[in-house]
Assembly symmetry: C2
């Protein structure tokens, strides 16, 4: 990570100074607290001071769609950026029923007890419809939510996947600047959220349940080949034998996959979130991966590639939104799509007609 | 497919009339042939009459980047569209060395002898660099290229993947209108060409060679989960035992994959292009798939989804090209990317700065 002193914007403000300069009495804790809007600098200082309440408010700004909020949010993110990056970012996916919440509860609690500072985030573009589907209900993470060094934040509410994912990625920056050294990003395993999560984490874990066939129904194709590791969850009770058999099958399947760019060979590991067995084996696999990829240079390469990816992703989304969110175009697009579906118009002619109409509008 | 009589544009011209109206002497076979430009209607009539030479010239127009050529090409495609769609479209991928050419030679020759009309196309955005990498050298398909009812066409020369793929998809329309009932689309298995091919074929075949490990190096992750079938090629000589072992491994791996949207369960089949064993088993698997998906409605659904996909793909490419092919922007983009890679600017701020610069230009 770039040292802040090398960055004009932060000249004269080092990590320690930032913390030292904060007054010992929180100036925001006044009777007008709820109404007073903090400045970007105040948010930044609160975050750097590890003030969870201010971090939470800043994340709310990031998630806000109000232009005024966004303006401040972008300043805060920019200020936090030089202090971000020092964490292990772990993506966790699995269908509903794979036991993601209990797994995160078990793993997170152990990590917190080891002294780690853990932020748990989520990407679920459907979260407004399926309220509480992931992380929405903190009561499912009873133990973890009482840990002093855990920060649990549900998915930003519904919107385009790109928008929701962008907000989660910005939240990672804030959490890291606030001192969180372990970031878990949860997704539901049923849509495109995995590609988005994969593009912001270091290690991507697929949580599977025992057995083959039906249990796999929910996982979208292509996700298995994205995984840096597979955890066979619910390896407990009279499920143990089946879990071990599933591990053998998955290991064999993983061997048939082409090697990943990182050079890492994914493994399948059994665990039980209830018996607390194997959960730390999964974590040690993550740590091994981090060591391995830091040594061969892939870790840093991957991080910068991800930053590049998000720059282009943001540009592309904006360019396309101009077209698709135009109300007049929307009507024309629907007509053209119908003609294409009826085989009355070729895909290419339809596209060109729409593009002509769009060009004339501008 | 829509009946041509229901389409205003083709009112009064039925399939048979189109053919009947063609003069028995080819008017284009004059001494000025090379210089005379055909009209769109003449191209269309030549294609419908099954004139391979005119089909080849029309494909050249489709591949041309000259606006005048493109204008005629689009008219020809639009005229051919009502006559397109009546074919089985098969995508074939595999790394160099998997034996794609010999497999296509073996399969294609058998299909032609069965009376099928076969067009062999390719998508290889790198084809200008690696001249003759796929299908460029017809001499590798000695037998097939002498078959009267085979039409072999190398990949459109280098360009953006989207552009190359679009041209191949347009060529499919022309070939189908010319009466070809079987279309093979070959890709190299090393890049994004597979996603493009997958979005224009009915059945996607992955050609593998025996063994595990090194042989898989070249295939990109995610491609295996895209396949509707895997053919283990080179199951001959002292390779037979290994090929059968590979088939077992692949079958086991395929069982772990989540079911595809079509409801079809992909299989792994051994074949030898040299001994001509198993090649038709692969084809029968394709036919089974077609019957299966036509019965459950997926075939038609998939085709219309593909048409929709290409409409949006064309629009998106045009919207993004305006930004990325602008020379002034190109310079700014490179600067911003470098700042993002140096961690001096967040992905999102960099994107917004570039978008602002672009908006001011217009």
């Amino acid at each position: 990570m770039q040292h802040p002193e090398n960055d004009k914007q932060y000249k004269g403000l080092t990590v320690n100074e930032g913390v030292q300069n904060l007054p010992s009495v929180n100036p925001y804790a006044t009777f007008r607290r709820k109404k007073r809007t903090l400045t970007a600098k105040e948010y930044f200082e609160g975050i750097r001071n590890g003030d969870i309440s201010i971090l939470g408010q800043a994340v709310t700004l990031v998630e806000s769609s109000l232009p005024a909020d966004q303006a401040i949010a972008q300043q805060v993110i920019e200020m936090c950026l030089p202090y971000a990056g020092n964490s292990i970012r772990l993506g966790i996916t699995g269908v509903p029923g794979a036991g993601k919440s209990t797994f995160i509860e078990a793993l997170g609690t152990e990590l917190c007890q080891e002294g780690k500072h853990l932020a748990v985030l989520a990407i679920d573009p459907s979260s407004e419809r399926s309220k509480g589907s992931i992380l929405g209900d903190k009561t499912r993470m009873n133990e973890l939510s009482t840990q002093a060094n855990a920060f649990i934040r549900p998915s930003p509410s519904a919107g385009s996947l790109g928008g929701v994912a962008r907000k989660t990625r910005e939240t990672i920056v804030l959490c890291e600047a606030a001192g969180f050294d372990t970031i878990l990003v949860e997704t539901v395993g049923v849509g495109q959220s995995e590609t988005a999560a994969h593009s912001m984490v270091d290690y991507f874990l697929l949580l599977q349940v025992t057995g083959t066939g039906d249990e796999l129904q929910g996982i979208k194709r292509g996700i298995m080949e994205m995984a840096d590791g597979i955890a066979i969850n619910k390896c407990d009770g009279n499920n143990i034998e089946r879990a071990h058999a599933a591990r053998v099958s998955f290991r064999n399947a993983l061997m048939l996959f082409p090697p990943s760019e990182s050079g890492w060979k994914p493994d399948a590991i059994c665990c039980s979130s209830i018996d607390h067995t194997g959960v730390m084996d999964v974590w040690h696999n993550v740590e091994e991966y981090i060591t391995f990829t830091k040594q061969n240079g892939y870790f840093e390469h991957h991080r910068t590639e991800q930053a590049k990816y998000w720059m282009y992703e943001t540009i592309n989304a904006a360019l396309l939104n101009g077209f698709y969110q135009d109300e007049e175009m929307d009507c024309l697009i629907k007509q053209a799509e119908q003609q294409v579906l009826n085989n009355e118009l070729s895909s290419f002619i339809a596209a060109n007609k729409l593009l002509d109409a769009y060009a004339k509008k501008k």
